[in-house]
Symmetry: C2
Subunit: 571 residues, 2 copies
């Protein structure tokens, strides 16, 4: 195949017309041409490298890798570096190998990282432990390009033997190490970086990012469903303040400073997590456009999702050069940024209307190994008329919670919810066969009746449920057990569920199907009084113990500041 | 040691004040500080990473590595990636190991490449052959960070077995491959790059550099004694034309284009060759200043001699970050660019006046293994009154020659030089024990009497001599044999020589001593009528067969266009 097109070249930050020959899946020849009035340019629009999301957990899309690919190519994404951290917590190596196998069924570039922190903490029951020998097994695979985000920074700082062994292995196999160190700074950051942990995607403010960058980290700016850090990290006023501060030293010439404002000083744009309802709207294409709207040089922004990640992870991707894999996209222009076509290894996989490959259905393994529950399992008992309890307080769109307290009435020895003060019940049901149930209280959901439950609950993905009364909670949990995982909304008036039978995390359906069902469940939750935009996402993070202040695991209520369990009842 | 200073940070392209602690040779801690009126900044000026010359042949400085270091630190250079190609041609592995050993005697960072093309051609007698097993031996060494410049591009293109084996070995040992492919373009360049040859330092014009860059090469811009490509590659008008050409497509926003002009699109600034008389005046410090004068963003220019080469070759250098080797320099400001101090591994090695380390004297091995010559050795015989000869025509400051002809008188069976038409004799005397002598004629030197000779003659470094009469030529060559190598100027009126007893390439003296002697020889050459600015340099390239059109080796007159020997006498 041979054709003429304008190439957006991220190597020279320029556009040039060329005759391009693609064969055997690669760019065979690229010959710059001179454009005269007679020249026919075959391709309308601009040809650029396919986009690379260099940090994403595919499981958060609730789609199989193959279904993820099917929606991603519509947005110009052709490669992802994905960390199968969620499924690893559920099914270990077997889960990771399922992801690799399933990924290989579609024409899309999936690169993997070896999840470094499974389980995330020892304060919860996960489905699996990945020790250093498992990590070595994974690092040997060609598909595995890095050691996944090292979230256990306390382990790094204290020199935990297994943690250090995993880091050593990554260096031994010459694979880079991804970091995850929210707000780590100063000497502790220095010590963390001594282990050659060279990326970070957790920066939530400009000065945090500048410190990490100045210390030599490559900064991933998140623009996903959970975390959105672009506004903070590409903030114009902060950038100008930072530069003016320099100017006051009188060292850098003013005209150099002025040009500098539009250059991103960070390295990659990533999504981290992308939910199906967001994913049907866009992916990195929208992020690049947003970066440009924020004042970032658009070609540099494109570099952050093409050549920068490709160079860092050593991927055969991200550039339009002879000999490279012919992964490219056609967009209309740099302003509207519509994806007209997507090609992978020279084959058109998205023609502007349809995705041109099929996705095989996956056999679901029942990974939910819990017995059916009754209302009794969710009761909290107290011998008295009233008691004071510790309450998790959550906020719309935030992972952080606060620790608050409430006085609750008791009836027949059971502590009651308080619908007027929005003190609901939250429980975590262990799903790996031990049948622990931990019960506590939560404020912020706003449900007036019914219950919502989910088998997506970071990072161990036990079943989590929030509700007013224990009977509805039992029904919601049992619905999830029946469905082999997923989300459920249950009330006296109506009930519905989204089945996620693959590891309790992913559906067999496509993005549109899953997004539609998810939207239905969101609407039903609202109808039950829920005040949160994404109640299942917020609920999923209520079990993520490493993010303060008060969380819950299947083993109990957990104080993230003190890093220890605490009692629900205070007196 | 702990102090406050303004750091020029090449990671964020910014300047910030910090408290810096240096211990055990590394940056132990770097803490940004707020500057108030009371703040005392200990260091006057600006602290930045020491400069890295990522492509240099130390031998061209005529100094030992240790003596090179002594002059380089005055100019802020703290690291070099050097290709010991010259000494390898003379002494093979032993020569390279001498360089590595000698380098280790001083506090300076010498990184080496394994010379890939020794000998340069099979049309000359070199001191050594480095085959693929030698290359493997070298690639195993920690000091060796890359495979040196692959000049044998015909060998790459034809798939020469030994060449491909060397390239494979570099990939096997995960060491990058440096290129050298002047004017290579189109499909041939594609094929050359298929071998993962990822740098090029031979670009002499903008469009050549753009093509290579667009194909994925990293471009080294030379600013040395022999090659000076900065003006061509940083050319503003070409850059603007290139960008305007883009603008005419209406694809890239104008304001983006305007900012882009000041961004260098190439990667490194290197010297390649730096002669002692240039080296005493400056090194990369002058190149950065020149780049800034040409309109390049000064901080980006600094990046080209710090972080860019460090990242490419994986050097512990080029950045000011905690945990990195404390190689840094203090300059007065970004305009005057005076080097106030140089530090290597935390130790001051240049205090603004003196270099604070000693250089050991080196025992010279006699590598000149040639018998004394007489005038007869340089005669060309012809039976007749007159004959037509092929003549090398050389030009001031150029490596390329032209092939011309001349009619010369004969006397007693010997062909005579023609002083009026500037047709002088040129001979190459084999120095490795076989005592070949090849004689021919050359135009362009302008000598009216006497002879000049040198044991520096790329790439085999046989003895090369130019002169009017054969007696003076014999004396000049014999002077070099007596001196165990070097340069000589001989005439009836005066004679002098510079001894280069180390492999016939390097002196034991310091840069100032060698430069002074070289200047004397240049003046004496001028006094003999020589029209060339650097007659020894020009002469040294008359034996470099790979650069057209007509050259000479110890085996005869060589037509670089036809790539074969030709006769001196035409009829």
């Amino acid at each position: 195949m041979s054709f003429t097109a304008y190439i957006l070249d991220v190597l020279t930050d320029s556009v040039y017309p060329a005759r391009i020959t693609v064969a055997d899946g690669i760019f065979k020849e690229i010959i710059p041409i001179k454009v005269t009035e007679e020249t026919k340019i075959d391709v309308e629009g601009l040809l650029l490298p396919g986009f690379i999301d260099s940090h994403i957990h595919i499981e958060s899309s609730m789609l199989t890798p193959a279904q993820f690919a099917k929606i991603a190519v519509r947005h110009g994404t052709t490669s992802v570096v994905c960390d199968p951290h969620e499924i690893a917590n559920v099914c270990g190596i077997e889960g990771i190998e399922f992801m690799i196998d399933n990924a290989s069924t579609v024409p899309f570039n999936f690169y993997f990282t070896a999840p470094s922190c499974v389980p995330a903490t020892s304060f919860e029951t996960a489905g699996c432990v990945l020790d250093s020998s498992d990590i070595e097994y994974l690092l040997k695979k060609d598909e595995v390009v890095a050691l996944g985000e090292m979230m256990n920074f306390p382990g790094v700082l204290s020199g935990d033997e297994e943690v250090i062994r995993k880091l050593d292995l990554a260096r031994q196999y010459k694979k880079p190490i991804d970091g995850h160190a929210p707000l780590l700074s100063g000497k502790e950051l220095d010590k963390y970086m001594e282990q050659y942990i060279v990326t970070d995607h957790e920066c939530s403010n400009f000065s945090e990012a500048i410190e990490k960058k100045q210390k030599g980290m490559k900064i991933m700016v998140r623009d996903g469903s959970s975390a959105k850090n672009m506004e903070a990290l590409f903030d114009f006023s902060e950038r100008i303040d930072h530069l003016k501060n320099q100017d006051s030293f009188g060292i850098i010439p003013t005209e150099v400073l002025e040009r500098r404002i539009h250059s991103p000083i960070f390295d990659f744009i990533v999504s981290d997590d992308k939910h199906p309802n967001d994913l049907i709207k866009g992916h990195l294409n929208k992020s690049v456009q947003k970066a440009a709207d924020l004042g970032i040089d658009v070609i540099k922004a494109i570099g952050m999702v093409t050549i920068n990640p490709a160079a860092h992870y050593g991927l055969d991707a991200g550039v339009i050069v002879t000999g490279a894999k012919a992964d490219y996209i056609i967009i209309d222009n740099l302003k509207d940024f519509n994806i007209l076509k997507t090609f992978i290894a020279g084959e058109c996989v998205f023609d502007g209307k349809n995705v041109l490959f099929d996705v095989p259905e996956v056999e679901a393994e029942n990974s939910i190994n819990a017995t059916k529950k009754t209302s009794k399992d969710f009761e909290i008992y107290y011998d008295g008329d009233e008691c004071e309890v510790n309450v998790i307080e959550c906020f719309n769109g935030e992972l952080l919670t606060q620790k608050t307290t409430a006085k609750l009435k008791c009836c027949e020895g059971k502590v009651m919810s308080d619908i007027y003060d929005d003190i609901l019940r939250i429980s975590v049901v262990e799903r790996y066969g031990q049948n622990h149930v931990a019960n506590a209280f939560i404020k912020g959901f706003g449900l007036k009746k019914g219950a919502i439950a989910s088998s997506v609950a970071h990072d161990s993905h036990n079943i989590i449920v929030v509700g007013y009364d224990t009977e509805m909670m039992a029904q919601a949990v049992n619905k999830i057990i029946d469905n082999k995982g997923g989300f459920a909304v249950v009330s006296e008036d109506f009930s519905d569920s989204l089945s996620l039978p693959i590891a309790g995390l992913m559906s067999n359906e496509d993005a549109y199907g899953v997004a539609k069902k998810l939207n239905t469940l969101h609407k039903m939750s609202s109808a039950l009084g829920c005040k949160l935009d994404s109640p299942f996402m917020t609920m999923a993070f209520m079990a993520l113990l490493v993010i303060p202040s008060l969380k819950i695991s299947d083993l109990g209520l957990f104080d993230g500041d003190a890093f220890e369990f605490i009692d629900v009842i205070r007196n």
